[in-house]
């Protein structure tokens, strides 16, 4: 077993009276694609953000590639971690190319154009789009740019918070597939937060179910489909399974 790239220990975090995390411990192996699934308010986004220190945990520790996250300066840490989220957050005053190249610019790289074109191709966008402004793009194109921006500085770890939540189903499916391919091709470790169990089982090779600030199940997609993981996990699996069965009946 190789050394885990992420080690989370006894994490707790409260916002006022609300306890978002109640003692979470988790190891993530290098190269794995982990999905964090749960209802709204289950603490999955909070847990994800403790990794790139956008959220500082109340107690507990996070270590990334063997280093304690709390001891690293936040900006330096985040430059080593790709981050994609539902709001996308493209910088509206920068062109698509400048958005994709921002991480390289922060790292002080001068010749960015080739890398930007390469990144746009990776997310299946025309490199000529580099000169467009974000306001000229469709929602799906914008999130592709968001993914390209996260991957441009060649991070080892990719964090995604509901990355496809605002996209139409067709775009959502194709972009999901694309991210899965890039994960393999670039040798990434990926942690993705989603409330969609079907998406989690289709993309990830390890699914964690969160409820009320705790991890209540930790299974492979196959394990979940065979009924493992307990009551809460199975309640989430039941939804896409029932949908699939209903679709199959219509087809018959």
């Amino acid at each position: 077993m190789p050394e885990p790239i992420l080690e989370l220990r006894d994490l707790a975090k409260s916002y006022g009276a609300v306890e978002a995390l109640r003692g979470v411990s988790l190891d993530v192996a290098e190269g794995s694609f982990v999905a964090l699934v749960g209802a709204s308010g289950s603490g999955k986004s909070t847990l994800l953000k403790t990794v790139n220190a956008l959220v500082v945990p109340g107690t507990g520790s996070v270590s990334f590639e063997g280093e304690d996250v709390a001891a690293l300066p936040g900006p330096a840490l985040r430059r080593r971690i790709g981050y994609v989220f539902q709001a996308i957050g493209l910088f509206p005053h920068m062109s698509v190319g400048e958005n994709v190249g921002i991480g390289l610019k922060l790292a002080g790289e001068r010749n960015r154009a080739a890398r930007i074109a390469e990144m746009l191709e990776l997310v299946e966008l025309d490199p000529a789009m580099a000169s467009r402004m974000p306001s000229e793009l469709s929602g799906g194109q914008r999130q592709r740019v968001g993914v390209a921006r996260a991957l441009a500085p060649q991070p080892d770890l990719l964090l995604m918070d509901e990355p496809f939540g605002a996209l139409d189903p067709v775009t959502r499916d194709s972009l999901g597939e694309r991210v899965r391919e890039l994960h393999k091709r670039l040798g990434l470790t990926t942690v993705m937060v989603t409330h969609d169990m079907a998406e989690a089982m289709l993309l990830a090779d390890r699914v964690l179910v969160m409820s009320e600030g705790r991890i209540v199940a930790d299974e492979t997609p196959a394990g979940l489909l065979s009924g493992a993981g307990g009551e809460e996990a199975q309640a989430l699996v039941a939804v896409p399974r029932a949908q699939a069965e209903r679709l199959a009946r219509i087809d018959r």
């Binding site: 956008l54 989220f85 957050g89």
Partner: protein
């Protein structure tokens, strides 16, 4: 219209001074507002306090804010030494910069609050330090809004800068105030046109910069900025003159007699080889502090005014005694020299149209007290706050039906049009005879006497040559001569400028 045009052409220096003052105040406002806005975006408490303070400043009338800086700077002399200017550019700059603060700060804070949270999260997410986030994301996104705030501030500042005349800073307010006092409407109009025109030009240029920011068109941005800076540089160049300590500064309050006497003294000093500057339209309280602290060198004041306002006396020991004690008091308390009495009195009196006084059977203020509840009294804005009025009111038990404020020149019009039955008049005013007015007797001697006197600042009092040049004025101006000169400026027809009236007066008294 040609009079307005002529007046406009003569405003070059005032315009340049106005541009420099407004630009400096705006620059200072920006320099304070932007760091404050950054701090406010990091702390809700700072944001509340800063915006609260800026809004509070905005509720203070501009005129009062300008005047307030005089005592503030005066007290700061304890820290910064006697060299700290208390009148002119510095207080005007500080007051206007405070005024410019609010729109810039509020727009900057609002721009930051309205920024999409996703964009700010992305800035953190890609690993920007707080400084990079400010420079690469927050500042460029807020820039068009901040620029709009700067634009608003510029228009306000240019407008409010006209009021800096009252604290002795040359500006486009000079022709407006001088014109209002002497009813020279061409001058008023010229000042207004110049100031409004300047505001429009500034608004257009800054508008171009704002659009340059918003639409990311650098040419528009730098072009607008370059033209604005060129205008400011040209103003600085126009005003550049080697600093000259020999320049004598003559102060004048805001009425015709003061303008005329200021010019009279100025021309005598110029003839004696001095360079002269005028600070005209100063508030009555400001003038005395200005001459005693050396912010101006020479002023004309009145014994009764100083007796009540500076010595805080309510008794009336008689004309000669008041003068004697004033000279002593100034020498001991402020080091200011009272050079002498000019020879005429400009007393406060209560005046009515002669026909109206006759109709009501009034000859004295005692008679007036009986019918006062049916009458309206008009006074200049200071009058009803002055101790003299309070003394007279209480001595005769005056209770008027209505009390109205007018600027000194409009009081006489109000009397003619019947908007006021009684006004606070000045006995040296030429319009008393010209308008056939009757000054009511003061049998109880409630109004003190108001001998016109020349005051020299402690520094000017050391200058023997200057004293020698002014000494011939002592006792030289009879009240009839002063009335004539005043009337030449105040009348509606065939008006003279204060400088022309001063020359007439010089000739008349044979100096």
């Amino acid at each position: 219209m040609s009079a307005v045009w002529d007046a406009l052409l003569g405003l070059g220096d005032k315009l340049a001074a106005h541009v420099l003052l407004a630009a400096a105040a705006l620059a200072l406002g920006i320099a304070v507002a932007l760091p404050l806005a950054v701090w406010a975006s990091r702390s809700a408490t700072v944001s509340r306090i800063a915006l609260g303070f800026a809004s509070l400043v905005q509720t203070i009338p501009a005129l009062a804010l300008l005047a307030l800086f005089f005592p503030i700077l005066l007290s700061l002399r304890a820290v910064f030494g006697e060299g700290l200017p208390t009148l002119g550019f510095l207080p005007a700059l500080l007051a206007l910069a405070l005024y410019a603060l609010l729109p810039i700060l509020r727009n900057a804070v609002t721009a930051r609050e309205q920024m999409a949270p996703g964009v700010l999260e992305a800035a953190d997410g890609v690993g920007m330090t707080p400084g990079q986030k400010l420079r690469l994301v927050e500042a460029p996104l807020a820039a068009p809004y901040i620029m709009a705030g700067i634009r608003t501030a510029a228009v306000w500042t240019i407008g409010a800068a006209t009021l800096s005349t009252t604290i002795g800073q040359p500006s486009l307010g000079d022709p407006i105030f001088a014109g209002l006092q002497t009813q020279n409407w061409s001058l008023v109009l010229a000042g207004c046109i110049a100031s409004a025109g300047l505001a429009l030009v500034a608004d257009t240029l800054l508008g171009a910069v704002e659009r340059g920011f918003a639409s990311r068109r650098p040419a528009l941005l730098w072009g607008g900025l370059a033209v604005a800076l060129a205008g400011i540089a040209a103003s600085a160049l126009a005003l550049y003159a080697p600093d000259d300590d020999e320049t004598v500064v003559i102060g004048a309050k805001s009425f015709s007699e003061q303008y005329i006497l200021g010019r009279l003294i100025g021309e005598r000093l110029e003839a004696a080889g001095y360079a002269v500057e005028y600070r005209e339209g100063l508030g009555s309280a400001v003038v005395h502090s200005a001459v005693t602290t050396g912010a101006i060198d020479i002023s004309i004041d009145y014994t009764g005014t100083l007796w009540t306002n500076q010595l805080k006396r309510e008794d009336n020991p008689g004309r000669a005694e008041i003068y004697r004690r004033l000279v002593e008091w100034e020498r001991e308390q402020t080091g200011t020299l009272i050079l002498g009495r000019l020879g005429f009195e400009n007393n406060y009196g209560l005046a009515m149209r002669a026909d109206r006084a006759q109709e009501l059977g009034l000859a004295s203020i005692a008679d007036l007290a009986r019918v006062a509840p049916r009458l309206t009294i008009g006074g200049d804005p200071e009058f009803f706050e002055r101790p003299e009025w309070i003394a007279v009111r209480d001595a005769y038990g005056l209770r008027f039906g209505e009390t109205r404020n007018f600027s000194p020149t409009f009081m006489y019009n109000a009397l003619q049009s019947g908007e006021a039955d009684v006004i606070s008049a000045y006995t040296s005013d030429g319009r008393i005879a010209a308008d056939d007015l009757q000054v009511l007797d003061d049998p109880r001697g409630a109004f003190p006497s108001y001998d016109a006197i020349i005051l020299l600042s402690p520094e000017a009092a050391q200058d023997e040559r200057l004293i020698a040049a002014l000494r011939p004025l002592v006792g030289a101006i009879p009240v009839e001569a002063m009335r004539e000169a005043n009337y030449a400026v105040d009348r509606e027809e065939n008006k003279r400028t204060p400088a022309e009236a001063a020359r007439m007066l010089t000739e008349r008294i044979g100096l």
